[in-house]
């Protein structure tokens, strides 16, 4: 609780040691998966288990793993396309919407806001069958588009609710100065407000991407052909066929965590901002 005074000396060292211990315990599942991914199949089944790979085996990661009909690199690319697509849709739609909610008092504003809050609570179960029918009729079923369009519905409400706070915190004077300089309403929005709210936009982009990256239900239900499916659906499928091929499965797991880990390491402050602003306000 003593958030003001910096703790120093031996107490600091003790707390640091405890915190590293906690880190190892809590992230043990991830560490263990990584260790496993570097073992060969025989070593994984050794009893008692080995806590580091005695023989380093990177084959599970290497070149075209095409066991069954699952191609890791293709699936990774599919996920990347789907996540990027839905991120673009979410950001493009959410940025102006959140600006309007933050800065204008238009008729029905409350209802719109309520709508975004409610859509955040919807379970996928409610949406799957209607969307399934809709995508079949739109002729996008079994294409990346089906997953892109569906995944964007997760990113949009989240982004609107987050960004609204960023726009609301921009002082009115800034916008007014833009009008005086001859900007129109739209010009002021694009040239002045969006750049100021940039870090909020980054948070939304990251989360929209990660939500889509982590999706299984949409990718699995709306895309039938394995070569077009995202990595989550591919791995799930693979688990169904070769449930105990842990050397491959652990490597797949690590590969699909890579984008998350990279984003996490380089943009941690945005992630923390998204987690806190997105959920509870004050």
């Amino acid at each position: 609780m003593g958030s003001e005074k910096k703790i120093t000396g031996s107490k600091n060292i003790v707390l640091c040691i405890i915190s590293v211990f906690l880190l190892v315990v809590l992230l043990f599942p991830l560490i263990w998966m990584f260790i496993t991914s570097l073992k060969n199949e025989a070593e994984i089944f050794v009893n008692p288990p080995t806590f580091y790979p005695h023989v380093i085996n990177t084959k599970s990661y290497a070149a075209q793993v095409e066991t069954g009909d699952f191609n890791m690199f293709q699936s990774f690319a599919n996920s990347f396309i789907i996540a990027s697509g839905s991120m673009v849709i979410a950001v493009v739609l959410a940025v102006p919407a959140s600006y309007a909610i933050a800065k204008y008092r238009f008729a029905g504003r409350g209802a719109v806001l309520l709508g975004f809050l409610v859509t955040q609570m919807l379970p996928v179960s409610v949406l799957l069958t209607p969307m399934f029918i809709m995508f079949k009729r739109m002729n996008v079923y079994n294409t990346w588009w089906a997953a892109i369009l569906a995944d964007a519905t997760i990113g949009i409400p989240f982004s609107v609710l987050i960004l609204k706070n960023y726009f609301a915190s921009i002082p009115k004077e800034l916008e007014e100065a833009a009008y005086i300089d001859g900007c129109g309403r739209f010009g002021a929005f694009i040239r002045v407000l969006v750049p100021v709210a940039k870090s909020g936009v980054v948070v939304c982009a990251i989360f929209s991407f990660l939500y889509a990256w982590g999706d299984l239900a949409y990718g699995m239900t709306f895309i039938l052909d394995q070569p077009k499916r995202p990595i989550t659906a591919g791995i799930f499928n693979f688990m169904g066929q070769y449930g105990t091929k842990w050397s491959y499965l652990s490597a797949f797991a690590i590969v699909s965590i890579i984008p998350v880990a990279i984003i996490f390491i380089f943009m941690q402050k945005y992630i923390i901002a998204g987690m806190t602003n997105g959920a509870v306000k004050g």
């Binding site: 906690l22 008692p48 975004f116 209607p130 949009i156 791995i235 996490f264 959920a279």
Partner: protein, 299 residues
């Protein structure tokens, strides 16, 4: 006041900015909610799903549902799952938040790293824990044996008695970071002076926790629990990947059962009915959350 008037004048221009997002959400989610209600009142199977006559059966699906044993199990399971996860992830999250709120050198970076589990795709988390809980190759059974807690390997995911526990533990692991970070944020809003003056008055840390921390954190705690409930109640991928509702339906949640009915048994209307029951419960809880959030909004 003057400036407010000025904005008021431009009133409905806001619609231009908000309209694209609203239309998008209405098309994909608004329509889907409506369509799902209709579906649940019809008799829809593979033959008439996309095209063809759909016969209206009114509430037959719901009546059938409430006589369905597996559905009853799934409702009970969903509540057990949600409540168990909420309690443990909240307590552990709170403890971690208190610990990492101390100002030692590693506090911030390590607390940051602890957020990882929240961002990992649920499918992958499910895979990782499936490996950890595996009967023979699983590391958990090995640890428990080394510690002398068990003598025979536990069949965590293949025994109906333990499968739910395994699934709950996994979801707690995902939920801890969410609780930790939100409680941490709440803790930083408590002024340090309060604790200092309490110390002068001779309060110990237990006193301080229950007399200062908890009361001042009330609204944060409420929001976390309600939001946690909403997130947990609709969990789907995790359980579907870990157990698909088995063994012997012991881990079926409403979400997984709905999926099974619709996309494995092709009883789309029954699946929709389950989803609607799930939605109604979520909305009831959601109202509490909306009250809090919208109140903050009006300020």
């Amino acid at each position: 006041m003057k400036k407010k008037m000025r904005l008021f004048k431009y009133d409905n221009v806001g619609w231009l900015f908000v309209l694209p997002a609203v239309i998008y959400m209405l098309v994909f989610e608004g329509y889907s909610i409506f369509s799902n209600i209709i579906l649940s009142l019809q008799n829809v199977n593979v033959r008439n799903l996309v095209q063809g006559e759909k016969e209206f059966v009114l509430f037959d699906n719901y009546i059938q549902l409430f006589q369905d044993e597996v559905f009853k199990i799934s409702v009970v399971n969903t509540f057990i799952f949600t409540v168990a996860c909420l309690i443990f992830q909240f307590i552990i999250g709170f403890a971690l938040a208190l610990f990492f709120n101390k100002n030692f050198s590693f506090a911030k970076p390590i607390r940051g790293l602890l957020m990882m589990p929240w961002m990992i795709p649920m499918t992958i988390t499910a895979l990782i824990f499936k490996f950890i809980f595996a009967t023979d190759v699983g590391i958990l059974n090995y640890f428990l044996k080394v510690l002398g807690i068990i003598s025979e390997n536990i069949e965590w995911l293949t025994n109906p008695k333990t499968a739910m526990t395994a699934v709950i533990i996994t979801n707690i692991w995902i939920g801890i970071p969410f609780n930790t970070i939100l409680i941490s944020t709440g803790l930083t809003t408590i002024p340090e002076e309060l604790y200092e003056s309490a110390s002068i008055d001779g309060a110990n840390s237990v006193h301080k926790f229950f007399k200062i921390t908890v009361p001042l954190m009330r609204s944060t705690i409420e929001s976390i629990l309600i939001l946690g409930f909403i997130y947990t109640f609709k969990v789907y991928d995790l359980v579907y990947v870990m157990t698909s509702g088995g063994p012997v339906n012991s881990t079926h949640l409403m979400s997984t059962y709905s999926y099974k009915l619709s996309f494995e048994k092709f009883q789309y209307s029954m699946g929709s009915a389950v989803a609607n029951v799930l939605l109604v419960i979520l909305l009831l809880v959601g109202i509490a959350y909306l009250r809090i959030t919208m109140k903050g909004e009006e300020e």
